[in-house]
């Protein structure tokens, strides 16, 4: 560096648009995440089901390929149930991505007390959160509803005969189901990270919420001989809502006791999202006032 530059001077150059500042956080978030080879490899792994399903749709519509492999697929095999199955697999892969990436992005800032540095700049709390959530949102979208929509488009193209138009509701269901899942696990991941401020604990809590809480709910249902314990089973609730969105019967969903009503499933999922937003609003501050 030139010696003449080693003095303080003000900056008078151009500035980026104010609305785009949150994208700086997203960009740095992506760059930090993809520094890990394991993470990069896992994200690539998340694409495997998509590739398999793409090949499958091709086989379903290619008589030549079926003849070569001596396979015979029935009619209407790629239906709403098939898409729900694909989304289910991708959603769990996405959960692992969120449990890995989410806590690290936020809890580090809290552990290092750097939130005050972000918020002392022209960046609001909402923009800070948007910058962080957009990383998770993009990753999860890339593993859930976007590949599902691509498969939908491929199926519509190969099937022809107005299949796409007749099943347009399915595209809507894919988008809504994907966004609901993304909102739930992104907000949960962020809220738990902000709450415990420790990456390992936040990841453990997230896994506990999705794997231990359902067990507790099942115990409650069995002991109390009620179905309401299932409200603690978030994977079940989301599957119930998805089944409704995909116009499928929830009969095949395994659960202790009877199914909870659909409205209750929606209410709990939305309440969890609302609670996460409340925690974020309470905890995401540059300074915490000590209440005397």
């Amino acid at each position: 560096m030139a010696v003449y530059k080693r003095t303080y001077k003000a900056y008078r150059g151009p500035l980026t648009p104010a609305w785009s500042r949150f994208t700086v956080l997203s960009r740095y978030g992506f760059s930090t995440l993809f520094e890990s080879r394991f993470f990069t490899a896992f994200v690539v792994l998340c694409m495997v089901p998509f590739l398999v399903c793409t090949v499958f749709i091709y086989f379903v519509h290619s008589a030549t390929a079926q003849a070569i492999l001596n396979l015979r697929f029935g009619n209407n095999i790629v239906n709403s149930g098939w898409f729900l199955g694909f989304l289910g697999v991708e959603a769990w892969l996405g959960f692992i991505v969120a449990a890995w990436a989410g806590p690290g992005m936020v809890s580090k800032d809290f552990a290092n007390q750097s939130v005050q540095l972000y918020l002392s700049r022209p960046l609001s709390r909402a923009e800070y959160l948007l910058g962080k959530v957009s990383v998770l949102g993009s990753l999860l979208s890339g593993t859930t509803w976007i590949p599902a929509l691509i498969l939908f488009g491929l199926q519509a193209e190969l099937e022809g005969h107005g299949w796409g138009w007749n099943n347009l509701w399915l595209a809507g269901a894919i988008v809504v189901a994907g966004l609901l899942w993304i909102a739930l696990i992104s907000l949960l991941s962020m809220a738990l990270s902000v709450w415990v401020k420790w990456r390992i604990a936040a990841t453990a809590l997230m896994i506990g919420t999705f794997f231990l809480l359902p067990g507790f709910g099942a115990v409650v249902s069995a002991v109390m001989r009620t179905r309401w314990g299932n409200l603690l089973n978030f994977p079940y609730l989301i599957t119930l809502v998805w089944a409704h969105l995909f116009r499928l019967s929830p009969r095949h969903i395994h659960v202790v006791g009877d199914h909870v009503p659909l409205w209750a499933a929606w209410a709990v999922l939305l309440a969890v999202c609302g609670f996460c937003i409340w925690i974020l609003n309470r905890k995401l501050k540059a300074r915490e006032a000590v209440r005397g």
Partner: protein, 324 residues
Amino acid sequence: MAKVIELDNLQIRLGGRVILDRLAGTLSGKCIGLLGPNGSGKSTLINTLLGFYRPDAGSVRIFGKDVQGHLRELRAQIGYMPESDAFIADMTGVHFVRYMAEISGLPPGEAMERAHEAFFYVGLGEARYRKLGTYSLGMKQLAKLAQAIVHGPRLLLLDEPTNGLDPEARQRMLHLVQEIRDTGEVSVLISSHLLRDVEECCDEVIILKEGRIAALSNLEEERKANLKFLELDVTQGNGFMESVRALGCECASFGTGTLKIVLPDNIDLRQLYRLAAEHSVQIRRMNYRRDSLEDIFLKAMAAGAAPAATPPPPPPPRSAHGSL
């Protein structure tokens, strides 16, 4: 001088307690010292300037703009160096400062260039590719200063910038602050417990006590207005003080053999020696002094906070030296 910070009956309550109690005053120095004992509200005032706390009453303006009404605009013009460690441990120094510059609105290319310049400027050029977690305390303080100045702010808020620094690092930090101040492009507000730091850098000082302004004084004017006085350590001698007064000097005794004497221009120092000889008084120590910041601070602490809703008291009059 342009107004930098205007406090208009600013009141902040946290947890049901009044932390800042109707602060009023205008600060227009190039380097403003913020002094006060622990719990006096210094950090709360800085956080309020940054818009982290919303005033319960009154308002605060920076460069004539209300902080709450122009938060984004003002934050773009403020550089903040917090007291506590605040960084991302697994980022390299230059990467971190570039990141902060980009959040402040600098395009990536310019942010990278400024980050390098800021690192060289604070003297960490050779350590800029090391991870922040490996920095020593002094290096972390300098890295915090680098991130505070990287976007070229108009107002620099430094919260205890010399905390935990060894004497050499402290001098370096103060030298940097003075250099930044002397560019004339940046106003600096330093919150510190160390009076010497503030005295070395600041031309204006605000002293808080229990959430109120105990003193608000322009050090430059104080320095100009304060008469130089003589401080003498003498053995007790009857009639010496009266004789000094008879010469036309103002004189005060502090009971332990210390005298403070203001010499008019027409009085020669030799006349004092003569009087001392006449009264058999030994002068054991003699030196010229001016009122130091320490005197101002101690007076402010002793006097207590200014009554609420009244403007801050003017600088203490010269007659406040002892019983002069």
